[in-house]
Amino acid sequence: MSELLGHFNYWIVIILMMTGFYIVIARPNLIKKIIGLFIFQTSVFILFISMAKIEGGTAPIIEEGISVYSNPLPHVLILTAIVVSLATTALGLALVVRIREAYGTINEDDIHVQDEED
């Protein structure tokens, strides 16, 4: 039981990660792929934050009378990662818009067909 509770977070995170991964490799639609990447990224965030949690701890904002704080370092790393995820999402979506204008479609299969015809 303690084994289950102790690893529950990690397992769900891996299931989420694989959900995102599946969307990225199995779905030809480019916007769907970016949504998949987003899910993957968020699951990595949850993995890091789960590792930072300490049983009985509280948020790392120093206050009188509290002695146990969760680990602040993963929070900092993930804060950075979230902002970077905004950058990647925005660039990816801009590329999708351009691809749509160049090919008239955002379906990867159709794009391959058009490329082979050239």
């Binding site: 509280t58 948020a59 904002i61």
Partner: protein
């Protein structure tokens, strides 16, 4: 007491998610998203009190603003498109 409220909110979020999955129209999904936003705000506020650090209400405030702006953004995008998929022009009945 906070625990009871939190559980009620979690159940309500689950019900809202069911509505978001089932649709049937896009408006139902937007509505469900809006409701989940409200519930999340309340849950964060109650959790802050439960863990004894109610100063985290700032987060809840940001959530209020964000969920409002994104609801409006969805509506605007949908109106700009002006195109309705066949499911959303029906009677809205399942």
């Amino acid at each position: 007491m906070y625990i009871a409220v939190t559980i009620a909110i979690l159940i309500a979020i689950a019900l809202g998610l069911v509505r978001a999955f089932r649709g049937p129209t896009l408006y139902d999904r937007i509505m469900a998203g809006n409701m989940i936003g409200t519930l999340t705000v309340l849950m964060v506020a109650v959790l802050g009190f439960m863990t004894g650090r109610p100063e985290f209400l700032d987060i809840a405030l940001v959530y209020v603003l964000i969920s409002f702006v994104s609801t409006i953004a969805v509506l605007r995008v949908y109106i700009i498109r002006g195109t309705m998929d066949s499911s959303s022009t029906g009677s809205g009945k399942e």
